[in-house]
Amino acid sequence: MKLAVVVQRYGADINGGAELHARYIAERMATHADVEVVTTCARDYVTWKNERAAGVDTINGIQVRRFPVARERDPKDFGRKSHQVFNETHSMADELAWLDSEGPTSPALVDYVASPAAGFDVVLLFSLRYYHAWHVTRRIGSRAVLVPTAERDPAVALSIFGPILRGAGGIMYNSFEERAMLQAASGNQAVPGVVVGVGSDVPARTDPDRFRRRYKISRPFAIYIGRIDANKGCAELFRFFERYSATFPRGLDLVLVGNAMMPVPKHHRIHHLGFLSDEDKFDALAASDVLIMPSFFESLSMVALEAWALGKPVLANGRCDVLKGQCIRSNAGLYYDSYEEFAETLYALESKGPLHARLGRNGREYFNRHYAWPVIEKKYLDMFARLANQPHRPLAPLPGWMARRRRDLPAAAQVLAAIPAGAVLPEAAVARDRTA
């Protein structure tokens, strides 16, 4: 079987969620199929500037084919078009213009993947909202398997994505919440879809003491791993933690791992370590009491899964449906909606507290049951086998020139607001609620 993994950026040094997800899947699937990664020459997800050479490369034993991006993103133009389609009544042509403006615009990539000469049996497309996913799916129809990595943002409510989600051969969702949201937005219940997520290469042994010695951290601490950005909820995290540290002088410190896109407050109990190697990251996680995930929007938090794999509980932002749902389903994490809840739950999750060990154990079990690599690989292989047995279905053609320009589509934010939100509770909880 020849499998294409198509993703907007690719590289060993690219640690964006969807990109890392794609790399892990490509490397794992290489043992079962002939895998080729098809991507762009871009490294920066804001500008899509061509920074790498076009052509064929090999990364960790996987063949990677890069295509140049035809034009960089113009942030002003993209902002204007985003405002138009998200907040105003608009046309399908406006949405297509928004997609072009968002990028990474690479017609050569689309042509290559869709051409019969490439000979791909299955095309795995990462990130629904980008140019390549939409155009490739339109061209190849049910040979496409989408990994939407969709968050609850207005883009998923754009009308252009409905036919894509209904026309793809299969969909690999990251979470139950993502599936519920996309099914509500597109009505694609008939399309084979499975909640998979992604595994992680968690080391068998970690050395928390080495981390403590190296970074001179002796006190117990909570850890945040990821981009330090207001969009990731870090501003609220800092605000809450400063109040918490004033109230609990003997409480946990906060260790931040990742590049800072916003100023980190100067506080004697906040330690910003910058970007760390995988070894240091896992040692840090093993040394921590709890992982904090302050993000409002996530389709899947790989670092949360890694924390669970290492037996660490997670404290998540309760306004993120996905993280909250995972905490409830795994019984391995708590969540907060306000400062008071943040302080109470953080206190409860300290390693000397009564919950730490139990939630940690649940997390490890949850990871092994749902996110161990053999489980993930089997789900992908089952989906590919299912696709092989079903006939090819092309997508319905786009509406005509006039219809595409009719300004009768509601604002995407308005559509999104009508889509039900909230964590998907475990079946038992739902049944219990019904009985109650």
Binding site: N331, T345, A348, R358, L425
Partner: protein, 292 residues
Amino acid sequence: MSDFTVKSDNVDVEQIMRQVRSRIREKRGVDYTEDEIRELASVKLERFLDAKGVRSDLLEQYRKRREASTAPRNFAFEDTTLYESSRSFLRVLRKLLNPILKLFFNPTPVVEALHIQSRLNDSYNQAEALYYELIHNLVLETTRLGIEVKNLKMRVESMSSRLDFDERRARALEGVVQYRPGAVAPLPPPSSVERGRDRDVDRDRDRDRQPANLGATDAERRNRRRRRRGRRRPGGPGERAAGGDSPSADGATDTGGPQAAPSRAEGPGPSRAEGPSAAPPAGDGGSGSAES
């Protein structure tokens, strides 16, 4: 901050979160979210604050006033403004006649002054919005503090009533401890001579029951002190203070009035040394004190 009640190995995160929220509600009195606090600040401030000096709907009023106001917020004034016109020929004519105008007076200082005024208006407009935002935030914070003060008052009241209750219960328990139905026969009140004899008997018995760890000198000293008091009591002020011959003087029915104090001051008397039989029932004082 207290710990969570986790009764088994199977933890339920939703249940824990319910516990967390109920504890927060207990602490705060009422479970206000940020949005609710904002709502309270804008609508029902007078419930929590003396609203004489603070308007709860400051920002709203300010916005309304700005929107309703027909007066222009500012004007643009450049060096060409004086000569502008919608009719182009008039504009050209004014430009041509400008040198002649300047023969009569110098318009430059006027233009400059009005230009500066325009910029001042701009900065005033910006600052005004900030001031109102600031005042609005202060109102929010004041509301928050008001709520907190109210809750703290409620907690202080609750704690003082619990303290009163605990004190009453402590006195009652002390009364129960002194009551020894097996040790003292419910006889009619004896005469003072008989009472003195009884005390001597009790004293001898007490001496036999002194705890092993109590030194002989301590025990002797206490007995001596008790003997002295015993001698003084009949007919003396001590007896009257202790309630005379009434049963409550023995503590049998004393439930914690001021009379209990002297008997308590006597230190580890016989009733305390009697051990478990004198202890209050486990389900009463024991668990209660553990809870508090």
